[in-house]
Symmetry: C2
Subunit: 440 residues, 2 copies
Amino acid sequence: MADALKIGIAGLGTVGASLARILQTRANALAVSCGRAITIQAVSARAKGKDRGFDLTGIAWYDDPVEMAEKADIDVFIELMGGAEGAAAVSVRAALKRGLHVVTANKALLAAHGVELAKLAEEKGLLLNYEAAVAGGIPVIKTLRESLTGNHFSRLYGIMNGTCNYILTRMEKEGLSFADCLKEAQRLGYAEADPTFDIEGNDTAHKLSILTTLAFGNQIAADQIYLEGISNISIDDIHAARDLGYRIKLLGVAQKTATGIEQRVHPTMVPLDSVIAQVDGVTNAVAIESDILGELLMVGPGAGGNATASAVLGDVTDIAKSRPGAQQVPVLGRPAHLLEPYAQAEMTRHEGGYFIRLTVVDRTGVFASIATQMANNNISLESIVQHSKTPAAGDQAKTIILVTHATMESAVRTAVAAIKGEGYLLGEPQVIRIERPKTV
Amino acid sequence: MADALKIGIAGLGTVGASLARILQTRANALAVSCGRAITIQAVSARAKGKDRGFDLTGIAWYDDPVEMAEKADIDVFIELMGGAEGAAAVSVRAALKRGLHVVTANKALLAAHGVELAKLAEEKGLLLNYEAAVAGGIPVIKTLRESLTGNHFSRLYGIMNGTCNYILTRMEKEGLSFADCLKEAQRLGYAEADPTFDIEGNDTAHKLSILTTLAFGNQIAADQIYLEGISNISIDDIHAARDLGYRIKLLGVAQKTATGIEQRVHPTMVPLDSVIAQVDGVTNAVAIESDILGELLMVGPGAGGNATASAVLGDVTDIAKSRPGAQQVPVLGRPAHLLEPYAQAEMTRHEGGYFIRLTVVDRTGVFASIATQMANNNISLESIVQHSKTPAAGDQAKTIILVTHATMESAVRTAVAAIKGEGYLLGEPQVIRIERPKTV
């Protein structure tokens, strides 16, 4: 049997502690599967005294993760601290410079510095694995990076934030408001005290930017993503969606178009009978459309200590099974120095179906005016629903819901702006994009 | 850049020809991703003259695949001929003995000789990759073999035969009979002229036996699988299932129980709102339940030249990215000489819910008799539906449908046998097992 693989874990929160426990309690089985033992040689965290359910005997403790990266007697540096900058970035750079393989679950770090770190790893012939950074336990990185090599990608999309999916699922199932469901999610630990990062789509955007690069071969461009969160989705939207045969999900979508790559995160209508529409609660899902394989959809736990630890463990065992300097999987699918600049497609040129919900004054001529504005912008309508009474808005109001055939974003924006100018709108119009799975 | 990886393809049917075309048309991109070129050095097939859409210039032609395995100047032998014995088995053995890596899409070969071939590969330090053998383009082998290392598995199940899923989907959507849908599937090329192997579950069983070994670490036991096909599923079953909130799928299921590992292939009721229930047509799906990760479901194309070629290509590029003798992924998840004997669980001890459809003479006392037999066997009922008139069976008949809570197979068999003995049954009773996804 080969020499043991010596690892150091920086960050002993839920994921790190779970990983350490698994490595200790399943040491024998892991050694059999990998052909060598995996030993925890060093750890780093803030509070040394805390009981985390694993045995620290014989493990070197470092208060400073950077010092661990620079000095510990390890082959692999596992970064589970989080954050795009600070200790995570400094210690990962130090580990790679020193010639250590790196495993990280840190989407923010990769979204900000992924290309730089990939270059560093590849120059040194090191592995940089990050399965846990996107969609938790779902093996989407390995699938894109290894299984689908040679495929050309047209679109990928997914539910990549459990907090948002939990809230949207609860809203539909219980008929509760966004605010109530958010509170519930916070109570259950599914949402942070400050939930902005999740509900406004930033978390999804970080993950999407990594998948985009793996699929399309561009440099990571997390700051060039069209972003809309779910905080203005109402129970009325959810009910109207269901009546029309759709369900609302927060999707991250990356799509190849004639003018570049679209990256967008927004509430999205998906057909009720599609597989992804059934993905409830904190569960994640990622769909990948490619030309040789066709369509692949993966559904699984997107967060949680154990599920994330499972993905980290897969990354570590991949390194254990390879021999030093042996395997040359490019970190981001193709060698980092060959990644192309990101060619951003204009969001105004996005083409797709749209759901438009308008609350209007209930008077003659309004409907004709709306229809005219749509026609003026060459927008063809798939369905029109009119509710005569909208109790929340008073007796004088009615709700008009339009679902368009595929049209251009700019046309929808122009039409909606024109409708706003007519003076009969009560409140802001709601516009939600529709995404249609190809087959599943 | 490293030396080119030289491959030989045995079998130039739909998959082999698709693979060859992709390797030629995407040679540059593949070389960039793999860090070395992949060149087709040799091919073997029956008819040399046929145009298969790729350039044979400079490629050595072998009429005999075994000769190619023994003599061609190649690093990797790709077996796409099919069949458990004959040329496929002989040539793969010859290739491994000679020190070539092997990629195969051949489930029958692995189901019959997988452990022997894995031992041979591991003794020689070779890779034996077979992603395409199970569920076509879905990366389930890689996921079990690499991503989930360290997990303990409780159950896996899947829709692994596109022919059966196509037929069941059509029956439900169009209200057609099994026989009509089978004819349609044959016309469209989804079913063979002799469809027995697909519709009686043998194909699913081969695939299941491989997944069982990857999950549970036992020797492959394809001949110890409980088997029931879909040919006696009627449109009445499908409608009754839907009325009760279920859909019928042919599932292969492997499950760890207190008395051993269950392997079973049979028509199965899955809840209508589960994700797997939405998997329509020829699409496949595999669900994996493990203790660290939780539940993972993968959905995608299970067959077809391109989808299968994509999986083969992933296997080849994995070898291209590794360096000779470098990577030591055990072929069947753990080293073949450490696989345990298969401990088969008794099917009579299977526990689960059951759907039981009885066509009975419409007379007083029948219902009470059925209820008594159920009670005598301690079977608790979740729902009971009685249709007074069953037109197909005549005015004197009625249909009684029972759905049980979790109970033991032996109890159901005893109760049904007792009911048969009462003399009021018209036709054979229909018994369909229920499978409940854990979360998705």
